[in-house]
């Protein structure tokens, strides 16, 4: 299948999904919550004498995404399963991979919209101060990568159940594992040194910290790309397995 033929259905699905995202009040609630949350954090640090940087806001963004990303993604497949519309997709000439990628892409488009307040804040910094562009851009790339990973986890969770609440909780549970658990577990000292290093590596916040410091290391990028790919792959497998149940 040529790239264009592969891509067309994905874009078609993503486009329809965006209509759905804006038809539900949840979309607007998420947008408002993020604008408010990130805005508050930004406003606190936006004062004379403070460094013209987004690091604190970006950190806050990563925490906000722990529950906002699952709220965006929970409906992606669960809703189609509950409505029965998934059967319509399942009998159209689209593959399960295309369905998952289309859904995730729609969520990513929504994420771009969600991050508009961040762009406004960066604009304010440039207008009133003299920020260092390096960390600004690398940090922005970081939060987008974190968002991509969390939405992939959310897509996976949504493919697991037709109940949106369960999809939300499951996504949050996995994300909490990647952040809190993988933060406190190595701290506790119960793990052998090698396992501890591995767990520390898998911790999202540690990986993100590098971006927020202004460093774009290929290893960190690779971490997010491979983890996102892993969860999307699992989502496809889950969707395929649904046919066999």
């Amino acid at each position: 299948m040529s790239a264009k033929l592969m891509l067309n259905p994905i874009l078609t699905l993503a486009r329809r999904e965006l209509i759905g995202l804006f038809a539900s009040p949840i979309g607007y609630v998420v947008l408002a919550l993020f604008a408010l949350g990130s805005g508050l954090v930004f406003a606190v640090g936006f004062a004379p004498g403070q460094p013209a940087a987004m690091t604190t806001t970006f950190d806050a963004t990563v925490w906000l995404l722990v529950f906002l990303a699952p709220a965006i993604s929970m409906r992606l497949l669960s809703e189609e399963m509950a409505r029965g519309t998934l059967e319509r997709l399942g009998t159209s000439p689209v593959s399960d991979t295309q369905v998952i990628l289309g859904k995730w892409l729609a969520a990513m488009a929504f994420l771009a919209l969600l991050f508009i307040p961040l762009l406004i804040q960066i604009g304010l910094l440039i207008w009133h101060g003299d920020p260092d562009f390096g960390p600004l851009l690398s940090g922005l790339l970081g939060v987008v990568l974190v968002g991509a990973l969390y939405l992939a986890v959310g897509t996976f969770a949504s493919a697991a159940t037709e109940n949106q609440i369960i999809a939300f909780l499951l996504a949050m549970f996995v994300i909490a594992g990647l952040t809190f658990l993988f933060f406190f577990l190595p701290e506790s000292g119960v793990l052998p040194a090698t396992v501890r290093a591995a767990v520390l590596y898998a911790n999202v916040n540690r990986q993100f910290a590098e971006f927020n410091r202004g460093v774009i290391d290929l290893r960190n990028v690779l971490y997010f790309v491979s983890m996102t790919g892993l969860f999307l792959f699992l989502a496809v497998k889950l969707l395929e397995s649904r046919r066999w149940r």
Partner: protein, 327 residues
């Protein structure tokens, strides 16, 4: 064109569909009939590849619906059970979405949407939100979506569910028009609906195919399997009737006579053919009655309509009795 081979679906210990085979020929309209819960939807879902069978397989125009799914799906128009739609979309948006999924170019899509909207009576509803449409209109949108890419094979699960009598006639006409260049399998639990559109019928009960054939074939089967009684109204008392029909009762037929409730001069006579004997007693009975110079005001064979046949073959007891024998 559409072939099911020994399709079986088992949910745990429950056997939903049992070794069901059927063939829908090119250009043919096949009716799929059965009471609710007979396994019609399960079978249709296996036929379109949306539910994998426990055993057996299905092919659509030579493409296995599971192993060669992409090719099979391109040739399929499917109206799923309950016709799931996206309530937040408008009719036009939804049809464009379906067209894009089938990779129809924009101009072709526009043209086809106009055509199917017209044929399904949706022209005035194209800007309406699907969630606000009546059940009948939503059903028409589902049908339009199935027809949109002009697929050679159509599988329609209860296409007339929720429609009013007038809409049912429209949909029936629409489906009839599809015959010839489209192969259609449609299901219903209502016999008259199938009777009016389908060339051939498969009757399903408790997951088992209990009968199949053209409508005339089914009528013949019905008569052969259950020799229907002959009913007559005769101007005579019970004894008179009995005497007149002695030759027939001696041959084994069973006679029941009840006096007419309104006019005591008349009797109602029912003659049930003997098992293994001639199945149609109308001529014999008429001859016998006229030989005895009795006045007859009505003589007919008891209900041999498909409705009775349908009720009989789908009766759980008769299925239990014939299970094994038919397979």
């Amino acid at each position: 064109m559409l072939i099911a081979h020994q399709l079986t679906k088992r949910y745990g210990p429950t056997l939903a569909v049992d070794r069901l085979s059927l063939t829908v020929k090119k250009g043919e309209i096949m009716g799929f009939l059965g009471p609710n819960g007979a396994g019609k939807s399960t079978t249709m879902r296996m036929l379109v590849g949306s539910l994998p069978p426990t055993a057996g397989h299905a092919t659509l125009d030579g493409h296995d619906v599971l192993t060669d799914a992409a090719a099979a799906r391109r040739k399929l128009g499917y109206l799923p059970e309950n016709n799931p739609l996206y309530p937040e979309m408008r009719t036009d948006e939804f049809l464009h979405f379906c067209g894009r999924l089938h990779r129809m170019p924009r101009t072709e899509r526009r043209a086809r949407i106009g055509v199917v909207a017209e044929r399904c009576g949706l022209s005035h509803l194209r800007r309406r939100t699907l969630g606000r449409l009546s059940k009948g209109n939503r059903q028409r949108v589902g049908l339009a979506a199935a027809l949109l890419h002009n697929p050679p094979v159509l599988v329609l699960d209860e296409p007339t569910a929720g429609l009013d009598p007038q809409q049912i006639v429209q949909v029936r006409t629409l489906i009839r028009e599809l015959a010839g260049d489209h192969t259609v399998l449609l299901s219903s639990h209502i016999l008259p609906e199938i009777q009016r559109v389908a060339d051939r019928v498969v009757i399903l009960a408790q997951g088992v195919k209990v009968a199949q054939g053209t409508l005339d074939e089914l009528r013949r089967q019905s008569i052969a399997a259950h020799a229907p009684a002959v009913y007559a109204e005769v101007q005579a008392h019970a004894e008179g009737c009995q005497t007149a029909l002695t030759p027939l009762t001696q041959a084994g037929a069973t006679l029941t006579i009840t006096p007419d409730g309104i006019d005591p001069r008349w009797s109602r006579v029912t003659l049930k053919p003997a098992a293994g004997g001639p199945s149609d007693l109308r001529e014999d009975m008429a001859t016998a009655l006229s030989a005895a110079s009795l006045t007859v005001r009505e003589l007919r064979r008891e209900d041999t309509s498909l409705e009775a046949f349908f009720t009989r073959v789908t009766d759980p007891e008769s299925i239990a009795a014939t299970a094994g024998a038919s397979l």
